[in-house]
Symmetry: C2
Subunit: 183 residues, 2 copies
């Protein structure tokens, strides 16, 4: 089966919500068999996220409250792309704003689709090294706790479910893959 | 800083869209500093996804068109939870429907939050083994290509960006972690 035979073609699109962050539409599409169906889609501007690795090999995480999940979660620093912003610039910016670390080196790890069944959100993932700590200059309405974990602590927190954010897991996966290290 | 000091408290919630799959609301919340802000949230029923591992060690993937991404993507079999359905039952069902494989063993890998900045969606991840192939009995409106890749091919497709779905990467990460294997 070629990709072409999997393709869905748009018939019409209705915007049902347009907020500050998200735009939601309901589209009617032709399935490959010619039948029609509806698709609910959340449009997102995209984001960048960065795994900061200290000279010791330990990694820097942020803990912040995620309102949709009703809990605080461990994640790597991340944020949405500003209009026209390069993912790399966004990664440097978010790292600095959320943790106070400035990086001398940024390596691209990969790109992920966070949940392609209903959103077009992609996150550009980076690893940062050559880190030096400055004064964090985060938004006064952003509440963030900075945490440093060794690779062994990170593996533990993956195993016991304390780290369960998909972009964070994906960045770790790409990083260990790049290093040729065991997960 | 304790988790309590990170917590946001709901003041009000307005449903702005309710579809077949998604429910979107805009909530007003108190930040930890007492200021108010808005949160756009996509409510999702949750899902299960399963990494099928053949006796040879090769893994089974599906390729399907993801309308929000405007492309066909490699993913592990997955689907949303039906009302009241156990994640494990959903994983068995989706595996069978999408690939035709029945599993004699299902191991829980972990749970992920796909993109906790704007949705409450969680995906329960499993690994399936003891696989036997039956006739796939997928929904006639679901168009899926089944693919089998060796672990080395999987690592290649992660490295070159051909596999970039976050739940798929997360399941591979948990699986290799469980096996004590290098990524």
């Amino acid at each position: 089966m070629s990709d072409f035979s999997l393709t869905e073609r748009k018939i019409s699109s209705t915007t049902v919500f347009e907020g500050n962050l998200l735009k939601v539409s309901v589209d009617t599409v032709f399935l490959p068999n010619g039948r029609k169906t509806g698709r609910e889609i959340v449009r997102h501007p995209g984001a960048a996220a960065v795994l900061p690795v200290l000279d010791s090999g330990s990694m820097v995480f942020v803990k912040q409250y995620r309102y949709p999940m009703s809990m605080a979660m461990f994640e790597i620093p991340a944020g949405k792309l500003n209009a026209g912003e390069e993912p790399k610039d966004c990664a440097f910016r978010e790292l600095s704003e959320e943790t106070g670390y400035e990086a001398s080196k940024l390596v691209k790890l990969g790109i992920i689709a966070t949940t392609p069944g209903f959103t077009d959100e992609v996150i550009h993932l980076f690893a940062a090294s050559g880190l030096t700590l400055h004064e964090p200059h985060s938004d006064e309405d952003e509440f963030i706790e900075v945490c440093v974990f060794s690779p062994e602590e990170v593996r533990q927190k993956l195993s016991n479910g304390e780290i369960f954010d998909a972009k964070t897991i994906s960045a770790l996966c790409f990083y260990f893959l790049l290093q040729g290290e065991r997960m």
